[in-house]
Symmetry: C2
Subunit: 177 residues, 2 copies
């Protein structure tokens, strides 16, 4: 009775609540952040198992992937490229270096900066994962439609641009101190 059977998978269904109080501000589950979150989760759900089979997390994969597009790169630039915050990147680089998937050296001109590059071993791993990853991406593209997908990405980019310079009050102005 009620409840179908949702294995251990919390995400991926609708929840029709009981007495239904009145709708608040917005239907909430239809808010923009939620829409983006769910869409991304739907996409990543496709990739995660494959990555996991190769011992990689999503972020580790992002970093290695980013490193294949350059010869070498400074940490801060890599953070931008892989869209990770510094602290996360620091931790992951430490692990990837320990696994010898990347190499790190100090910049000659500026001892503060570290320069990172992917190792042969890392490259090999990427090459092992890439085919599956590409196949999944192709399947997604086929399902959703290449044209529609391109349009979606364009709109997402436009959204980013729209918000890039946006500021507002209540954003942390706490008197002084």
């Amino acid at each position: 009775m009620a409840r179908k059977k949702s294995s251990n998978d919390i995400r991926g269904g609708q929840a029709e609540a009981g007495s239904t109080r009145r709708a608040p501000m917005r239907e909430f589950s239809r808010s923009l952040p939620m829409s983006l979150l769910r869409a991304r989760e739907a996409v990543m759900r496709q990739f995660r198992p494959s990555l996991r089979n190769h011992g990689l997390t999503e972020q580790q994969w992002r970093i290695l992937r980013a490193l294949t597009s350059v010869d070498e790169i400074e940490v801060t630039e890599l953070a931008h490229l892989a869209f990770l915050l510094g602290p996360s990147l620091s931790r992951i680089l430490r692990d990837l270096e320990a696994r010898q998937l990347i190499e790190r050296k100090t910049a000659a001109t500026d001892l503060r900066r570290a320069v990172v590059s992917i190792s042969a071993k890392g490259l090999k791993l990427i090459e092992a994962v890439a085919p599956t990853s590409e196949a999944i991406y192709a399947a997604i593209t086929k399902r959703y439609g290449a044209r529609r997908l391109a349009e979606l990405q364009e709109m997402l980019g436009a959204l980013e641009m729209s918000l890039s310079g946006m500021v507002h009050d209540d954003a942390g102005i706490e008197a002084d101190e």
Copy 2:
């Protein structure tokens, strides 16, 4: 021809590490997961400071928001509604209960289930945050365009649907064990 940006073309013939290695599979920074991630971050960047000023994280806010849309709700349903995994929800509910922002009781008919509802104090907090939150949402809508925003959300929903039943190999089939 051999150079067209085809599938597993990670290494250009060999891993000859010359200067400026060339672009791999996809421009990477333009992959769908990255696009979604950046778009969502651009949006959340607007909300986080305000939430923070009220002592709430994004997820705590999601939960309280979800709770305002129902009279009371079971934990599993709430997980679906707020799109959180069980373990995350468990932790957050523990904290929110300690802060007396929510109330929890055990279902009478099924001792396994817990029923959660927002408290008066929680409702008050929501009401304090909502105006700013609404203002930010309105600003985003104005900047991006209401029509365009609706279209984007439709496309995101469609993407979710497209991928909902998608399966593929390499997804964790490790013999048996």
